[in-house]
């Protein structure tokens, strides 16, 4: 089902989204990938505050290519989410609203999504040029020294994503594959 939603996102709104929904996001989201997550994790371990109040916010796992003149950002597609699995449950428990990335998540993350009534969206991997057109503004707000891995505040308009793990813990990566799997010789793959 096609849906239009706003970012940041309330738990009630996240809970209404179901796996397979094709969702257009408009509003403000934040980028963070490997190095920024490591720093946020270290800040929390030391009892410090995060550079962004992540309550209800959406984190986009993305490190852009540099912007050409006159553009807010360069190519801007999702990176593999599983590398952030170590950090995601803690952020979800702290009130993170949603995550945007691509690829599988760990059972711990799926459980944390369910527990916190959150949602995991996939953006189309390798469509960085197309997705950059939905980003109207980009501003580095923390960890500038990390270059492409800095935390950016993005303004997005009708940013297209698909619900892959919903607040009930359903996982589209598992269900969708079964629908099209015609592989008969199961003995060949463990």
């Amino acid at each position: 089902m096609e849906k239009h939603i706003k970012a940041p996102i309330e738990k009630q709104a996240a809970a209404k989204l179901k796996v397979g929904d094709y969702v257009y996001i408009t509003g403000t989201i934040y980028t963070a990938r490997d190095a920024a997550h490591k720093r946020m994790y270290e800040a929390l371990s030391e009892g410090k505050e995060l550079p962004v109040d992540i309550q209800k916010q959406m984190i986009y796992y993305m490190g852009p290519s540099p912007a050409r003149e006159g553009r807010p950002i360069g190519s801007a597609g999702p990176t593999t989410a599983s590398r952030m699995d170590k950090y995601a449950p803690q952020l979800l428990d702290l009130g993170l609203g949603a995550m945007i990335g691509k690829g599988k998540r760990s059972p711990e993350v799926i459980e944390a999504i369910r527990r916190n009534q959150s949602v995991y969206f996939a953006a189309v991997g390798g469509a960085g040029a197309l997705l950059s057109k939905c980003i109207t503004k980009s501003e580095v707000i923390a960890y500038d020294d990390l270059g492409t891995e800095a935390i950016r505040k993005l303004t997005v308009e009708n940013f297209p994503v698909i619900v892959v793990i919903d607040s009930d813990g359903n996982n589209l990566y598992e269900t969708a594959i079964k629908e099209y799997c015609t592989y008969s010789d199961d003995a060949e793959i463990r």
Partner: protein, 281 residues
């Protein structure tokens, strides 16, 4: 006759090739992606493949990299034994080309100086350079920027000879199934069978630069390529890993003699942005 090549030529070409590879898919990949839109059976899969077509058009028209992961620059050099380089170090010239391409071309700098200390080099150098000395007086350059979403899902299997061809099939299918959505399907699967531990991985990498749609000249290897492509596409992974009939665009297999005790298999997975530009100087 010795032919002299100035290393500035190498730098200039590699700079242009890095920029070209990251904004335009090669003709073979472009044709395979267009064909996939036609043949994909899943509605969502078709929609994703259509978006990827749009993405390619925007990349070329507005000079925005196809993917933000503009890769670590993998460079194959086939150097004729009658070539003499002048003007400085060949390795430095290659890295200078990468530096200029990534800095001037607005490409992402994704390389860290030390694998554990992880400080960004800020110009995407050094490249990973593979050189081969061949007959003749030409220099063939292949630039293949490699994204790490798919690189991370690549594998080396040291099989026992008794596992044979069924073992090879099992290894490739296991790697692809484990990669799933992480590798940004539809993928291209490069396979190296034989040689040693490092040789099979290098063959798998080089197989990715082989034209998509081309086949091995060895009859049984060609059959294996076709069988594995069909089996991979029956797994249901589909575009974006969200279900469908297009999981891979090609399986390219290269082989090499090996030891009586071994059967090494390298599986290098590449996403649909399988970049390779080839020039001969």
């Amino acid at each position: 006759m010795i032919r002299t090549v100035h290393v500035e030529e190498i730098t200039k070409n590699i700079k242009e090739m890095c920029i070209e590879a990251n904004h335009y898919l090669s003709e073979d990949m472009d044709a395979a992606m267009k064909q996939a839109v036609e043949t994909e059976k899943a509605p969502l899969g078709k929609q994703i493949l259509t978006q990827l077509q749009e993405n390619l058009q925007i990349a070329a028209k507005d000079m925005i990299p196809i993917c933000q992961d503009t890769g670590m620059a993998v460079i194959f050099l086939e150097i004729g034994q009658d070539v003499h380089f002048e003007g400085g170090s060949l390795e430095d010239a290659v890295n200078e080309g990468v530096r200029q391409g990534y800095v001037d071309g607005f490409l992402r700098k994704s390389v860290v100086k030390d694998p554990l200390i992880r400080e960004n080099t800020k110009d995407n150098t050094p490249a990973v350079i593979h050189t081969k000395i061949v007959q003749g007086d030409r220099v063939k350059i292949k630039v293949a920027p490699k994204g790490f979403g798919s690189e991370n899902m690549s594998r080396v299997f040291m099989l026992k000879p008794a596992e044979g061809i069924e073992g090879v099939k099992h290894a490739v299918l296991t790697a692809v199934k484990d990669a799933g959505p992480n590798a940004c399907p539809p993928m291209v699967v490069g396979v190296g069978i034989g040689g040693t531990f490092e040789k099979c991985a290098l063959m798998a990498k080089e197989a990715l630069t082989r034209e998509v749609g081309s086949h091995s000249t060895i009859p049984y290897v060609r059959e294996l390529e076709e069988e594995l492509l069909s089996k991979i596409n029956s797994l249901g992974i589909g575009p974006g890993g969200l279900g469908g009939t297009t999981t891979a665009l090609a399986v390219n297999i290269n082989t090499y003699p090996t030891h009586i005790a071994g059967l090494p298999v390298g599986v290098n997975i590449c996403c649909h942005v399988n970049r390779h530009v080839i020039r001969e100087l």
